[in-house]
Amino acid sequence: MSWADFFVMKGYALYVWGSYGVAIAVFVLEIVLVCHRRKISIHQLRLMRDAKTGI
Protein backbone atom coordinates (compact mmCIF):
# COMPACT_ATOMS: atom_id res chain seq x y z
CA MET A 1 0.00 0.00 0.00
CA SER A 2 1.38 3.41 -0.95
CA TRP A 3 1.16 6.60 1.11
CA ALA A 4 -1.37 7.98 -1.38
CA ASP A 5 -3.60 4.96 -0.78
CA PHE A 6 -3.12 5.37 2.94
CA PHE A 7 -4.41 8.96 2.89
CA VAL A 8 -7.37 8.04 0.70
CA MET A 9 -8.50 5.44 3.31
CA LYS A 10 -10.47 3.54 0.64
CA GLY A 11 -12.79 6.54 0.23
CA TYR A 12 -13.30 7.16 3.96
CA ALA A 13 -10.65 9.91 4.19
CA LEU A 14 -13.13 12.66 5.14
CA TYR A 15 -14.56 10.62 8.02
CA VAL A 16 -11.34 9.11 9.36
CA TRP A 17 -9.13 12.22 9.07
CA GLY A 18 -12.02 14.47 10.08
CA SER A 19 -12.30 12.48 13.32
CA TYR A 20 -8.61 12.33 14.19
CA GLY A 21 -7.87 15.84 12.93
CA VAL A 22 -10.54 17.51 15.05
CA ALA A 23 -9.77 15.35 18.11
CA ILE A 24 -6.06 16.22 17.98
CA ALA A 25 -6.79 19.91 17.30
CA VAL A 26 -9.08 20.02 20.33
CA PHE A 27 -6.44 18.42 22.58
CA VAL A 28 -3.77 20.86 21.37
CA LEU A 29 -6.15 23.78 21.94
CA GLU A 30 -6.87 22.60 25.46
CA ILE A 31 -3.14 22.39 26.27
CA VAL A 32 -2.60 25.93 24.91
CA LEU A 33 -5.55 27.30 26.93
CA VAL A 34 -4.42 25.59 30.13
CA CYS A 35 -0.86 26.98 29.76
CA HIS A 36 -2.30 30.42 29.00
CA ARG A 37 -4.50 30.29 32.10
CA ARG A 38 -1.44 29.51 34.25
CA LYS A 39 0.42 32.52 32.84
CA ILE A 40 -2.59 34.77 33.53
CA SER A 41 -2.99 33.47 37.11
CA ILE A 42 0.67 34.17 37.91
CA HIS A 43 0.49 37.56 36.19
CA GLN A 44 -2.58 38.48 38.28
CA LEU A 45 -0.75 37.50 41.47
CA ARG A 46 2.19 39.76 40.59
CA LEU A 47 -0.16 42.65 39.77
CA MET A 48 -1.81 42.22 43.17
CA ARG A 49 1.55 42.18 44.93
CA ASP A 50 2.78 45.26 43.07
CA ALA A 51 -0.46 47.11 43.86
CA LYS A 52 0.03 46.30 47.56
CA THR A 53 3.66 47.36 47.76
CA GLY A 54 2.89 50.47 45.71
CA ILE A 55 5.47 49.86 42.96
Binding site: F6, M9, K10, G11, Y12, L14, Y15, V16, G18, S19, Y20, V22, A23, V26, F27, E30, I31, V34, C35, R37, R38, I40, S41, I42, Q44, L45, R46, M48, R49
Partner: protein, 245 residues
Protein backbone atom coordinates in the same frame (compact mmCIF):
# COMPACT_ATOMS: atom_id res chain seq x y z
CA UNK B 1 5.13 4.30 60.09
CA UNK B 2 2.25 6.66 59.91
CA UNK B 3 1.26 8.27 56.67
CA UNK B 4 -0.53 11.56 56.81
CA UNK B 5 -3.25 10.94 54.21
CA UNK B 6 -4.66 14.39 54.71
CA UNK B 7 -1.43 16.20 53.95
CA UNK B 8 -2.20 16.47 50.24
CA UNK B 9 -5.83 17.45 50.77
CA UNK B 10 -4.52 20.92 51.60
CA UNK B 11 -4.26 23.03 48.42
CA UNK B 12 -0.82 24.32 49.52
CA UNK B 13 0.80 20.86 49.58
CA UNK B 14 -1.19 19.53 46.62
CA UNK B 15 -0.03 22.43 44.45
CA UNK B 16 3.60 21.32 44.67
CA UNK B 17 2.78 17.60 44.36
CA UNK B 18 0.64 18.21 41.25
CA UNK B 19 3.46 20.18 39.66
CA UNK B 20 5.88 17.28 40.18
CA UNK B 21 3.39 14.68 38.90
CA UNK B 22 2.40 16.40 35.62
CA UNK B 23 5.41 15.27 33.50
CA UNK B 24 4.97 11.67 34.73
CA UNK B 25 1.50 11.62 33.16
CA UNK B 26 2.09 13.92 30.20
CA UNK B 27 5.07 12.12 28.59
CA UNK B 28 3.65 8.57 28.79
CA UNK B 29 0.38 10.00 27.40
CA UNK B 30 2.21 11.39 24.34
CA UNK B 31 4.16 8.17 23.77
CA UNK B 32 1.10 5.92 24.15
CA UNK B 33 -0.91 8.17 21.82
CA UNK B 34 1.71 7.68 19.09
CA UNK B 35 1.88 3.92 19.78
CA UNK B 36 -1.91 3.69 19.63
CA UNK B 37 -2.06 5.60 16.33
CA UNK B 38 0.72 3.45 14.86
CA UNK B 39 -0.96 0.15 15.77
CA UNK B 40 -4.39 1.51 14.86
CA UNK B 41 -3.36 2.62 11.36
CA UNK B 42 -0.47 0.36 10.36
CA UNK B 43 -0.88 -2.92 12.25
CA UNK B 44 -4.63 -3.39 12.74
CA UNK B 45 -6.20 -5.01 9.65
CA UNK B 46 -9.00 -3.51 7.54
CA UNK B 47 -12.48 -4.42 8.81
CA UNK B 48 -14.41 -6.87 6.62
CA UNK B 49 -17.71 -4.99 6.97
CA UNK B 50 -16.82 -1.34 7.62
CA UNK B 51 -13.56 -1.20 5.63
CA UNK B 52 -11.28 1.65 6.82
CA UNK B 53 -14.10 3.68 8.40
CA UNK B 54 -13.96 1.48 11.50
CA UNK B 55 -10.56 3.03 12.45
CA UNK B 56 -12.52 5.88 14.03
CA UNK B 57 -13.21 3.40 16.87
CA UNK B 58 -9.72 3.94 18.35
CA UNK B 59 -10.51 7.57 19.21
CA UNK B 60 -14.32 7.32 19.54
CA UNK B 61 -14.56 4.58 22.17
CA UNK B 62 -11.80 5.82 24.53
CA UNK B 63 -13.16 9.40 24.36
CA UNK B 64 -16.71 8.18 25.06
CA UNK B 65 -15.72 5.94 27.99
CA UNK B 66 -13.60 8.71 29.52
CA UNK B 67 -16.35 11.32 29.12
CA UNK B 68 -18.45 9.08 31.41
CA UNK B 69 -15.66 8.23 33.87
CA UNK B 70 -14.71 11.90 34.21
CA UNK B 71 -18.32 12.78 35.01
CA UNK B 72 -18.46 10.18 37.80
CA UNK B 73 -15.11 11.38 39.22
CA UNK B 74 -16.24 15.01 38.94
CA UNK B 75 -19.55 14.28 40.73
CA UNK B 76 -17.61 12.31 43.38
CA UNK B 77 -15.23 15.20 44.07
CA UNK B 78 -18.14 17.66 44.07
CA UNK B 79 -20.01 15.47 46.59
CA UNK B 80 -16.90 15.25 48.83
CA UNK B 81 -16.61 19.02 48.70
CA UNK B 82 -20.27 19.41 49.57
CA UNK B 83 -20.24 16.92 52.46
CA UNK B 84 -16.84 17.56 54.06
CA UNK B 85 -16.42 21.16 52.91
CA UNK B 86 -12.95 20.37 51.56
CA UNK B 87 -11.74 23.13 49.27
CA UNK B 88 -9.48 20.99 47.12
CA UNK B 89 -12.23 18.46 46.21
CA UNK B 90 -14.41 21.26 44.85
CA UNK B 91 -11.46 22.70 42.91
CA UNK B 92 -10.84 19.26 41.38
CA UNK B 93 -14.49 19.05 40.28
CA UNK B 94 -14.19 22.48 38.65
CA UNK B 95 -10.93 21.47 36.95
CA UNK B 96 -12.40 18.22 35.55
CA UNK B 97 -15.48 19.75 33.90
CA UNK B 98 -13.89 21.40 30.82
CA UNK B 99 -11.91 18.25 29.95
CA UNK B 100 -15.02 16.13 30.39
CA UNK B 101 -16.99 18.45 28.11
CA UNK B 102 -14.21 18.29 25.54
CA UNK B 103 -14.20 14.47 25.50
CA UNK B 104 -18.00 14.36 25.26
CA UNK B 105 -17.67 16.67 22.25
CA UNK B 106 -14.97 14.44 20.69
CA UNK B 107 -17.23 11.43 21.28
CA UNK B 108 -20.18 13.08 19.51
CA UNK B 109 -18.06 14.52 16.70
CA UNK B 110 -16.27 11.28 15.86
CA UNK B 111 -19.57 9.43 16.28
CA UNK B 112 -21.22 11.68 13.68
CA UNK B 113 -18.32 11.13 11.28
CA UNK B 114 -18.61 7.39 11.81
CA UNK B 115 -22.41 7.35 11.59
CA UNK B 116 -22.53 9.03 8.18
CA UNK B 117 -20.66 6.31 6.20
CA UNK B 118 -22.04 3.37 8.22
CA UNK B 119 -25.67 4.39 8.95
CA UNK B 120 -26.11 7.08 6.30
CA UNK B 121 -26.87 9.77 8.91
CA UNK B 122 -24.70 12.22 10.85
CA UNK B 123 -27.15 12.20 13.72
CA UNK B 124 -30.20 10.24 14.88
CA UNK B 125 -32.24 10.78 18.08
CA UNK B 126 -31.29 7.37 19.37
CA UNK B 127 -31.02 6.63 23.12
CA UNK B 128 -27.22 6.30 23.15
CA UNK B 129 -26.57 9.47 21.13
CA UNK B 130 -29.17 11.54 22.94
CA UNK B 131 -27.95 10.57 26.42
CA UNK B 132 -24.33 11.39 25.40
CA UNK B 133 -25.55 14.78 24.14
CA UNK B 134 -27.24 15.33 27.52
CA UNK B 135 -23.87 14.51 29.16
CA UNK B 136 -22.24 17.30 27.13
CA UNK B 137 -25.03 19.69 28.22
CA UNK B 138 -24.56 18.64 31.87
CA UNK B 139 -20.87 19.53 31.66
CA UNK B 140 -21.65 22.86 29.98
CA UNK B 141 -24.41 23.53 32.55
CA UNK B 142 -21.99 22.81 35.41
CA UNK B 143 -19.37 25.15 33.92
CA UNK B 144 -21.79 28.02 33.24
CA UNK B 145 -23.58 27.64 36.60
CA UNK B 146 -20.25 27.93 38.44
CA UNK B 147 -19.17 30.83 36.24
CA UNK B 148 -22.39 32.72 36.98
CA UNK B 149 -21.90 32.72 40.78
CA UNK B 150 -19.32 35.15 42.15
CA UNK B 151 -18.73 33.55 45.55
CA UNK B 152 -16.58 30.45 44.86
CA UNK B 153 -17.92 28.50 47.85
CA UNK B 154 -21.52 29.04 46.77
CA UNK B 155 -20.56 28.19 43.18
CA UNK B 156 -19.04 24.92 44.47
CA UNK B 157 -22.24 23.97 46.28
CA UNK B 158 -24.57 24.83 43.42
CA UNK B 159 -22.33 22.99 40.93
CA UNK B 160 -22.13 19.98 43.24
CA UNK B 161 -25.92 19.62 43.35
CA UNK B 162 -26.14 19.77 39.56
CA UNK B 163 -23.27 17.27 39.17
CA UNK B 164 -24.79 14.80 41.65
CA UNK B 165 -28.29 14.93 40.17
CA UNK B 166 -26.88 14.66 36.65
CA UNK B 167 -24.89 11.52 37.47
CA UNK B 168 -28.11 9.50 36.93
CA UNK B 169 -27.43 10.04 33.23
CA UNK B 170 -24.18 8.04 33.20
CA UNK B 171 -25.69 4.55 33.74
CA UNK B 172 -28.39 5.55 31.22
CA UNK B 173 -25.69 6.16 28.57
CA UNK B 174 -23.89 2.95 29.44
CA UNK B 175 -26.93 0.65 29.41
CA UNK B 176 -28.86 2.49 26.66
CA UNK B 177 -27.74 0.00 24.00
CA UNK B 178 -29.20 -2.85 26.08
CA UNK B 179 -32.35 -1.16 27.40
CA UNK B 180 -33.54 0.28 24.14
CA UNK B 181 -33.45 -0.87 20.57
CA UNK B 182 -30.85 1.57 19.26
CA UNK B 183 -29.16 2.22 15.96
CA UNK B 184 -25.88 2.43 17.88
CA UNK B 185 -24.15 -0.93 18.01
CA UNK B 186 -23.75 -2.84 21.29
CA UNK B 187 -20.50 -2.98 23.26
CA UNK B 188 -17.59 -4.58 21.45
CA UNK B 189 -15.64 -5.07 24.65
CA UNK B 190 -17.49 -6.77 27.48
CA UNK B 191 -16.35 -8.23 30.79
CA UNK B 192 -16.82 -11.67 29.27
CA UNK B 193 -14.32 -10.91 26.51
CA UNK B 194 -14.27 -9.50 23.02
CA UNK B 195 -14.39 -10.68 19.46
CA UNK B 196 -11.91 -8.03 18.30
CA UNK B 197 -8.67 -8.76 16.49
CA UNK B 198 -5.69 -8.64 18.85
CA UNK B 199 -4.07 -5.64 17.10
CA UNK B 200 -7.37 -3.74 17.31
CA UNK B 201 -7.52 -4.47 21.04
CA UNK B 202 -3.94 -3.26 21.51
CA UNK B 203 -4.61 -0.02 19.59
CA UNK B 204 -7.77 0.62 21.59
CA UNK B 205 -6.01 -0.09 24.90
CA UNK B 206 -3.05 2.17 24.04
CA UNK B 207 -5.35 5.03 22.99
CA UNK B 208 -7.49 4.58 26.09
CA UNK B 209 -4.46 4.72 28.41
CA UNK B 210 -3.04 7.68 26.45
CA UNK B 211 -6.25 9.69 26.83
CA UNK B 212 -6.58 8.72 30.49
CA UNK B 213 -3.04 9.92 31.28
CA UNK B 214 -3.63 13.05 29.17
CA UNK B 215 -6.76 13.84 31.19
CA UNK B 216 -4.87 13.48 34.50
CA UNK B 217 -2.00 15.71 33.28
CA UNK B 218 -4.21 18.46 31.87
CA UNK B 219 -6.56 18.45 34.88
CA UNK B 220 -3.59 18.74 37.27
CA UNK B 221 -2.33 21.69 35.21
CA UNK B 222 -5.73 23.36 35.36
CA UNK B 223 -6.26 22.73 39.08
CA UNK B 224 -2.93 24.41 39.83
CA UNK B 225 -4.21 27.62 38.22
CA UNK B 226 -7.52 27.30 40.09
CA UNK B 227 -5.60 26.88 43.38
CA UNK B 228 -3.55 30.03 42.67
CA UNK B 229 -6.67 32.02 41.76
CA UNK B 230 -8.63 30.96 44.82
CA UNK B 231 -5.81 31.03 47.36
CA UNK B 232 -4.29 34.30 46.17
CA UNK B 233 -4.68 35.98 49.55
CA UNK B 234 -2.87 33.27 51.53
CA UNK B 235 0.63 33.38 52.93
CA UNK B 236 1.89 30.25 51.13
CA UNK B 237 1.04 31.64 47.69
CA UNK B 238 3.10 34.77 48.33
CA UNK B 239 6.05 32.51 49.21
CA UNK B 240 5.96 30.56 45.93
CA UNK B 241 9.00 30.94 43.71
CA UNK B 242 6.98 31.51 40.52
CA UNK B 243 5.49 34.53 42.26
CA UNK B 244 8.72 35.91 43.70
CA UNK B 245 10.35 36.68 40.35
Amino acid sequence: MTINWFKYSAPSSFYGLAGKLIPWFAWPAGVLFCVGLYIGFFVAPTDAVQSEAYRIIFIHVPASILSMIIYIVMAGYAALGLIFNTRLSSMMATALAPTGALLAFVSLWTGALWGKPTWGAWWVWDARLTSELILLFLYLGFISLQASIDDPRRADRAGALLAIVGSVNVPIIYFSVQWWNTLHQGSTIKLSGTSMHIAMQQAMFAMFMALWLYVIAVVLMRVRSIILERERNTQWVTELKEYQQ
